[in-house]
Structure formats: C-alpha cells, structure tokens
C-alpha cells in the first residue's frame, strides 16, 4: 500500500501559531468556518470578498486525501468564477457533455447535456477535488480577511444566545475562540454535528461500491460511460469517467455482501479492473469502498451554528449532487450572513438559508435516491422491474427515459419567500428563483464578454431600454442597463429573459432572479429588495 500512498497528490500547508492563541482574553470573531474543503473554502472566500473577516480552521495540514469529487457543474463553476478561480478550473479540467448507457455489451442510450449556448461556463467539467481545493486555498491566501489555520481542530462548542465559544486544539495545545457565527463545513463525519449531538434522518443503501482512480493512457472518448450488467462485471453496474492527467474514475457496484477490507486489497482491485480494461497498463491512484447515504439534518441552523455541505446533507454520487450542492449552500449563506453581520439585514434572512437549501437538499436526495434505487434494486422483485425497463429500452423511448444512472446536478429554482411573485407572465429560460441564465454580450469597448460577469456582488437591477434614460435603481441596488452597459448583440439576453422594452429584473447577490416587471416602478423595486433581504421573515 505504500506505493499507492506515495502516488497520492497531496499539498501540505504549515501550521502557524495565531496571535489569538496568546491573547489574554478570549478573542471574538464575526465568523469561524470549520473545515477547509471545497465548501468551507468557498464560504470563507465569499465572506472575505464581502468584507467580513473569517477564521477558517481545518484539523489537517494537507489536501488531496479522503473522499474525492470529480464532476463540477455549471452553477458551481459560475460561483467559482465570481470567487476568482472559475477560468482556472475550466482550463485545468476536462469538459464533457455526452453520456452513454450500456446494458450488457450493448449501447442502449446516449445523452447530450446540450447546454444552452453562449454561457461562459460549460455544463460540466471533471477535475480532481484536490486541484479545486488547491485553487481555492491559493485564492483564500490572497485575501487579507481570510485567516486560514491548519492543524486547528475543533474539540468543544459552548452555545450562547449571540455567539459560540469554541475550544480548538493545535500542535501547541488548545485555545479558546469566540465567534458570532460558526459555519460547520466539516464534512460527512462533521465533528461540529457530533459536538452538538445532532443526528441525520434518511436512508443508507445496502450495496457497496468500489471507487478507484487509475492512471492509464487510453483513447476512450471524454464521455460519462455507465454499464448495467456488463460482461466484465456480471450482474452489477459500472461507471467510467475521465479526469485530467490520464486519470480515470471507475465505480464498480459490489452488491450488499461484499467484504469491505477484502475488496480494497490492490491485487483484488487490479483483477477486477483487468476484466474491464483488458491488457491495458494502468496504475492505481486511489481506491475506496463505500456505502451510500441519502440523508440530512432536520434543521441546518442551530442557534449561531449553520451547517453547510456534507455536514448538513449527504447523497449518493450518482448525479454529482454532493460537493456541487455544498458549494451552492456556501454561496447562499455567504451574502446573507454578510448582510446580517454588516447590519444591512435582520437575522431572519438566515432562516431563508435554511428553507432554500433544505429545498435543494430534498431535491438532491430525491434524485439521488431514485438513481440509487434504479442502480441497486432492493430485492428480486425490484430488480425484475428495473430489468424490464432495460429490456424494453432498445425498442421503446418511454423505457429509455426511465433508465436512471444519475440525474445530473442543476441549480435549484427556489420556491422562496424572498421572491416577489410575478405580476405578468414571462417566457424564456430565466425563471423566478433560479440563477440568471448566462448570455453572450459585448462590453462598451467592443470586447466579447458574458452577462454574469457584469452583475454586481450586491443586488442588481437589470434594465431594458424604453426610449427614455434608464431608471435610477433604489438604494443598495446597482443598475446594469442592457444596451448601455452591455450590448445584447445577439439578442440572447432579451430572449432568455423574455424582455420587452422597459422590463426590469431584480437579482440577488447570488444572481438568483427574485423579481421582474414589464415596467419600472421604484416603490415596487424597493419593496422587492427589502423582501429579498428577509424583511418579512421573523428571527427563528
């Protein structure tokens, strides 16, 4: 196993003693984030960019070990772009949009994610999680307001009405730190969750899955390939996906009775992979055997402690809904918490984090449970139904549509109290409560660009020309006038937003559409802004 460990790509970071450890009185910080994975890093960077000082602690001093996401969705990439690392990730990653499904040795179905064109970000990239984490760590280190502390392990929490007091262990011994807010981004085995004695509700699937990353020179296409009952792995399923550096992700279903320790032995894994890959040479990068859970906390906020990512909810990997939804949690929370801390909104706004992201978690859990039920039927009777769908698939379109090897992550359309209901009908791909669809535009200097990069970090009012000068946005809202600030040269912006002359659109700081009208009314825009700041929501 040592050779396997040696090949793991690991980035190490130094523990540094903080002045907080030597302070005579306990230092109080506005926000402490626990866990420097993708979700904690995204939350810390977003808060830092919004002017909130953040202490980000992690019990390790390295990245590159542990569970590994590989598929990053368009919405995640858009968020990463706003945080300053999106282009880097796309350049490093493998962009894909084709998926193929096989039953036995036959191709039964292939799908094209067919992303709407003219978006800056692709539908999906594959990239090893440690590359994403490394990019985010580098970005966090550029920000003075983000104080990243490695080898800081949370070992105690005392909850108070308006803050929490933490005990944090370090190589120099423990110290205490107070925080107005604690963001728990410490993953599936969250110690914050354990310290608060919270438990999950949901299901654990009986089937075990082998997940392996292998290094192999192969000219397989850049596609997601999924097999039901393939000749090389009879009676089970298999998944193969390309990553950068000639690394391939392979998932093999092992059934409920597999021996976890035995199945992780390299010689056994190698034998299984040889049946799949034939005589091609490959090296094992990483192997693990999992059982999947679909479950969540009943509540994501507990006083001043807010749970995000795997600490709050877990899904099976089919559909790439784990890390992607976690990063979307971070983005949903960051602007709300920043507004509460900066005194621009009341604490009720945090309630909307919970309702919106529980909606997203339930959507993700529903989809990933359905996928896992299809891939790993619970009984012979359920398998018979699944096999009937597969048998009918070559002959009947309805059956192909029921084949479920994972429904891929898309952003949640919030059914939210923060949205102002539409007064008139709107067509187009933009939806109230959803992130604004990106569009190609030209900048005033004639250069090509995208709509989303032109939206502000706060509320934005997007306006369309109506003969007169563009309206003045109310306080706390910046204005972006289509035709003045950006050129809708292709008509895509008007088309996707179903804009008529004089139409206006209010976007939240996370670029979700929260109100729209066919004509401008300053009072209505101000009321919608206040509503989106949670003015109608009580303190929990």
């Amino acid at each position: 196993m040592t050779t396997l460990a040696d090949r793991k790509t690991v980035y190490r970071y130094d523990y540094r003693r903080s002045a907080d450890q030597d302070a005579r009185a306990i230092v109080r910080r506005p926000v402490v984030v626990v866990g420097a994975g993708p979700v904690g890093l995204a939350a810390a960077i977003d808060l830092g960019l919004r002017g909130v000082p953040v202490v980000l602690i992690d019990d390790a001093d390295r990245i590159g070990e542990g569970s590994r996401g590989i598929c990053w969705s368009k919405r995640t990439l858009e968020i990463c772009d706003r945080l300053g690392v999106g282009e880097k990730l796309v350049a490093q990653g493998v962009t894909w949009q084709i998926g193929k499904l096989y039953h036995g040795g036959d191709l039964v179905f292939s799908f094209d994610l067919l992303p709407e064109d003219g978006h800056k970000m692709p539908a999906f990239i594959n990239l090893q999680q440690f590359y994403l984490e490394k990019a985010l760590v580098e970005r966090a280190n550029e920000l003075d307001l983000v104080d990243l502390r490695w080898k800081n392990r949370l070992i105690g929490i005392e909850q108070h009405n308006d803050h929490v007091q933490l005990t944090i262990d370090t190589p120099d011994g423990p110290y205490k730190l107070a925080a107005d807010w604690l963001i728990a981004a410490d993953g599936a085995r969250s110690s914050t969750r354990d310290l608060l004695g919270l438990s999950f509700s949901g299901v654990t699937f009986e089937d075990k899955f082998l997940i392996a990353d292998i290094r192999m020179a192969a000219d397989f296409p850049t596609e997601r390939r999924f097999w039901f009952d393939p000749p090389f792995h009879s009676g089970q399923s298999a998944l193969m996906h390309r990553q950068p550096d000639n690394v391939w992700r392979i998932d093999l279903q092992l059934g409920p009775d597999a021996d976890v320790a035995e199945e992780q032995k390299p010689e056994r894994v190698t034998a299984r992979l040889k049946r799949m890959l034939g005589e091609r040479r490959f090296e094992l990068e990483w192997i693990s055997v999992y059982r999947f859970n679909c479950r969540r906390l009943d509540r994501f906020t507990h006083g001043r402690v807010v749970f995000v990512g795997d600490a709050a909810h877990q899904v099976s990997p089919f559909g790439a809904r784990g890390a992607n939804s976690g990063i979307q949690d971070a983005e949903n929370l960051a602007w709300k918490l920043a507004m509460v801390i900066n005194g621009e909104a009341g604490e009720g706004l945090i309630v909307s984090y919970e309702t919106e992201r529980i909606q997203a978690a339930d959507e993700n859990i529903t989809h990933s449970t359905r996928s896992t039920d299809f891939i790993a039927p619970h009984s012979a009777a359920e398998r018979a139904l699944r096999d009937a769908v597969l048998a009918l698939a070559p002959k009947a379109e309805f059956a192909r549509r029921m084949i479920n090897s994972g429904r891929l992550s898309v952003a949640t359309v919030y059914e939210s109290a923060l949205s102002t209901p539409d007064e008139s009908a709107f067509a187009g791909s933009a939806r109230l409560g959803a992130p604004l669809p990106d569009c190609p535009i030209r900048n005033p200097d004639g250069s090509a660009g995208y709509l989303l990069e032109n939206l502000g970090d706060g509320f934005t009012l997007l306006t369309f020309k109506n003969g007169g000068p563009p309206p003045t946005a109310p306080e706390g809202v910046s204005r972006l006038s289509v035709g003045v600030d950006v050129d809708d040269f292709d008509g895509a912006v008007a088309r996707r937003l179903d804009a008529t002359p004089g139409a206006v659109y209010l976007l939240r700081p996370d670029h979700h559409l929260c109100a729209r009208w066919r004509s401008y009314d300053s009072h209505k825009v101000a009321a919608a802004r206040d509503r989106a700041k949670g003015r109608n929501l009580g303190k929990s």
């Binding site: 009984s379 359920e382 018979a384 009918l392 009947a396 379109e397 549509r401």
Partner: protein, 64 residues
C-alpha cells in the same frame, strides 16, 4: 386504428418508475408477479383497445 404509443408520455418518468418500484417494495418475486398481473389487467381495460393491447403484448414478448 389506434397505435401503441412508445414515446415517453410522463412529464416526470422517474416519478412514474418510483411509483411502480414502491408498489413492489417488500414483496417477494411471486407477490410482485401477481401484482403485475393485476396491474396488466387494470391497465389493459383502461386502454380498452384490443389492437393496442395486442401490440403491447408483442412488444413485451419481443423484449424478453
């Protein structure tokens, strides 16, 4: 003459599959087969067209 529709008609095909799979959750193979038989009779009557029924039977046999 009516024709068998094999194009997908459910707005959410996954939800339809889930309804079918949940109906048989916890049943053994024999009980599930009996359930399927009752379902086939109910749906055949609902369709109410002997030609469509015969086409459906032919498709089901061909896929075996």
């Amino acid at each position: 003459m009516a024709r068998l529709v094999t194009a997908s008609q459910f707005a959410d095909p996954d939800a339809a599959y889930v309804a079918l799979v949940e109906a048989r959750r916890g049943l053994d193979a024999q009980a599930a087969a009996a359930l399927d038989t009752r379902l086939a009779l109910i749906l055949a009557n609902h369709i109410g067209d002997i030609d469509v029924l015969k086409e459906a039977i032919a498709l089901a046999k061909a896929a075996a």
